[in-house]
């Protein structure tokens, strides 16, 4: 009985990190320091409480359906450029999107989504721990050092962080309210926040600010550095499947929410 509350809340873990993939990380790194991330993650607790109290009436539903259709097309675009850049160069993009939509056609209700996302959460947490353990010794503290924070930069950075973090989770409105409890939602928000914070610390700590601004996919280049015993190297293909799963859950949830919003 207890597990099912956490199953619905594990959808949030993947929803919040989707917007960070190609655009979010590079955008926040351009502000130049890590304090915007810290401040933003503390400030983003406030909108969460408001979202939990929204009751969907007709006007909100129409607005959400329009926004979510734009989001759905955005996730398809994101999967196309991500897979074409990293995995398959020459395959036509139509096939990539078609194969992505194929598993979605087997999902029929919200209970399946919650179970799938819980299993994916377990797999993702194993790969995250596996990769972080190996990357921690390579951090150089000098890369954080020039400590001259600019207040406007920090404020702009934290507002951007809040936008990327909170905006997909308006889909929580459509989950039936008796299945989730506030405690489990807050728990998974905190887990996701810690995950993104550690990502930022690793990127800035290992590469330094000047180099990491230039990357197109900083989190992918970070995974290139995993090295176990000089034997298991370059496994970033497999570890970066975490982002594929998060795009998948976002896509599925947006389709489900659009269906619920129309009816």
């Amino acid at each position: 009985m207890k597990i099912s509350k956490y199953m619905y809340a594990s959808i949030i873990f993947f929803l919040t990190e989707t917007m960070f993939l190609h655009i979010g990380l590079s955008d926040i790194l351009k502000t130049g320091n890590i304090y915007s991330v810290l401040v933003g993650s503390l400030l983003s607790f406030i909108p969460i409480f408001f979202i939990l109290k929204i009751k969907p009436n007709r006007f909100i539903k129409v607005l959400l359906v329009i926004l979510l259709s734009i989001y759905f097309i955005y996730t398809l675009y994101l999967i196309k450029i991500y897979v074409q850049d990293k995995y398959l160069d020459a395959t036509p993009s139509f096939i990539i999107i078609l194969m992505f939509l194929l598993p979605i056609s087997y999902i029929k209700d919200i209970k399946t989504i919650s179970k799938v996302s819980f299993i994916l959460f377990i797999i993702t947490s194993i790969t995250i721990i596996f990769s972080f353990i190996n990357l921690c010794p390579s951090i150089e503290i000098d890369n954080f050092k020039p400590v001259n924070p600019n207040i406007t930069d920090i404020i702009i950075g934290s507002i951007k962080y809040m936008f990327y973090f909170i905006s997909p989770s308006i889909m929580l409105v459509f989950i039936p309210k008796n299945e989730i409890s506030n405690k489990s939602i807050i728990l998974f928000y905190i887990l996701s926040m810690i995950h993104i914070l550690i990502l930022f610390i690793l990127i800035i700590g290992i590469f330094g600010i000047d180099l990491s601004i230039n990357f197109t996919y900083p989190e992918y280049s970070l995974m290139k550095k995993i090295n176990y015993f000089d034997f298991i190297q370059h496994i970033e293909n497999i570890i970066a499947a975490e982002w594929l799963y998060s795009i998948f859950i976002s896509c599925v949830m947006s389709i489900y929410s659009i269906k619920k919003g129309i009816s």
């Binding site: 850049d85 096939i95 020039p146 330094g208 000047d210 180099l211 290139k224 370059h234």
Partner: protein
């Protein structure tokens, strides 16, 4: 049922564009870049796949071509090679002096941008010889020459402080930072001979043509400036806290030396507001060799080691004063603490502390124990 048909159809439509069979790709293990009449002459060292029990043909094949950019030169190699080049396992890059003096940072863009190349490979400069001759040397028939040289560099990096292996991302990262410049490993070929590229090089116990490490070269604004010699390299490693293990010879008598082997060493840096940098070096060492007749005096040995380390560091500081390149990164240490630093004067103080923990299996050297000498 309909979904299965759609799946099978769209699988068949993929056309396998990215399908590369293993025996149709040529795995490149190192690349050399030279300059010839304003064009790049690029050589690629490619693995030669042969059955295991055939030891009459060589491990690697080298192809060379020229072109206006590096990628064009690599594509021109398809004129000669029967397989497509694949750079996923690239491990070494050799640049000639001429290209380095024109700018190393000009040629690394390809290696950062291509998605299939991993940026953990080593950059080296070949001193006094063309770069494509370096990759043609046959080092040993059992291993790939690129791996052999890379292992030489890596083990030298750990066991003795006479070099510093520079990887690509570290190079670019130091180039982009303020007040510091990167350094590059230098290779040399001794007794280059035409036979050095054949299996004859390994027929005897003493190979004639050898690839040898030659300390380190320093850069300024991405271009090669000059070379460091042995003492300066050791001083550089001490200041940048890169030492793992090394050996220092200490004079213990008028003509004889003892050797102290450093087990681990740590450098701590402090800056105060008069822009005085203080280096605190602490290390643990062991006494491995004592060729003098007299008794072992630990304090004296420790003091002599400290003096020797200070001498190395001073040599590096002198070289820093003479050159434009900021390879030691002293100004960066000040900048990290006081962000308003703007190229003012600074002073350096060094404090070294050695702690000899072991003196080995025997007490006095057997040299002085013979009855007639006592």
């Amino acid at each position: 049922m309909k979904k299965i048909i759609i799946l099978v159809l769209c699988l068949l439509l993929t056309g396998c564009y990215n399908y590369k069979e293993l025996n149709k790709i040529a795995i490149v293990s190192s690349i050399s870049i030279d300059k010839k009449d304003n064009k790049y002459l690029v050589g690629a060292q490619v693995l030669n796949v042969k059955p295991k029990d055939d030891s009459n043909s060589s491990n690697v094949i080298v192809y060379e071509e020229e072109g206006k950019t590096i990628e064009e030169a690599l594509r021109n190699i398809t004129k000669k090679s029967n397989k497509k080049l694949y750079g996923g396992h690239l491990s070494k890059l050799v640049i000639s002096e001429e290209v380095a003096k024109d700018g190393i940072i000009d040629i690394v863009d390809l290696f950062q941008r291509l998605p299939e190349i991993k940026d953990e490979f080593t950059i080296t400069i070949s001193k006094g010889i063309d770069a494509n001759k370096v990759i043609k040397v046959m080092t040993s028939p059992e291993s790939i020459p690129a791996d052999f040289v890379k292992n030489v560099i890596d083990s030298a990096d750990v066991d003795s402080a006479i070099t510093h292996s520079s990887k690509l991302d570290e190079f670019v990262s130091y180039y982009l930072k303020k007040y510091i410049d990167p350094v590059i490993t230098v290779l040399e070929v001794k007794d280059y001979d035409k036979d050095g590229t054949t299996l004859k090089n390994n027929e005897s116990t003493y190979p004639k043509t050898k690839i040898v490490l030659d300390y380190v070269g320093i850069t300024y604004k991405g271009k090669l400036e000059s070379y460091l010699n042995k003492d300066e390299t050791i001083g550089y490693n001490f200041i940048r806290d890169n030492i793992d293990q090394m050996v220092i010879p200490i004079k213990c008598d008028k003509d004889n030396y003892a050797s102290i082997s450093i087990l681990n060493s740590k450098t701590k840096v402090k800056v105060d507001k008069n822009y005085t940098i203080t280096f605190n070096i602490e290390n643990k060492s062991a006494l491995n060799e004592y060729n003098c007749k007299n008794n072992i005096n630990k304090n004296k040995l420790e003091k002599d080691t400290n003096k020797m380390i200070k001498k190395y560091i001073n040599k590096a500081l002198e070289k820093q004063d003479k050159s434009k390149s900021q390879f030691l990164g002293l100004k960066r240490y000040i900048y990290l603490k006081y962000p308003k630093y703007n190229n003012e004067e600074y002073k350096v103080k060094i404090k070294v502390k050695t702690n000899i923990t072991r003196t080995g299996e025997i007490n006095k050297s057997s040299k002085g124990e013979k009855y007639e000498d006592k």
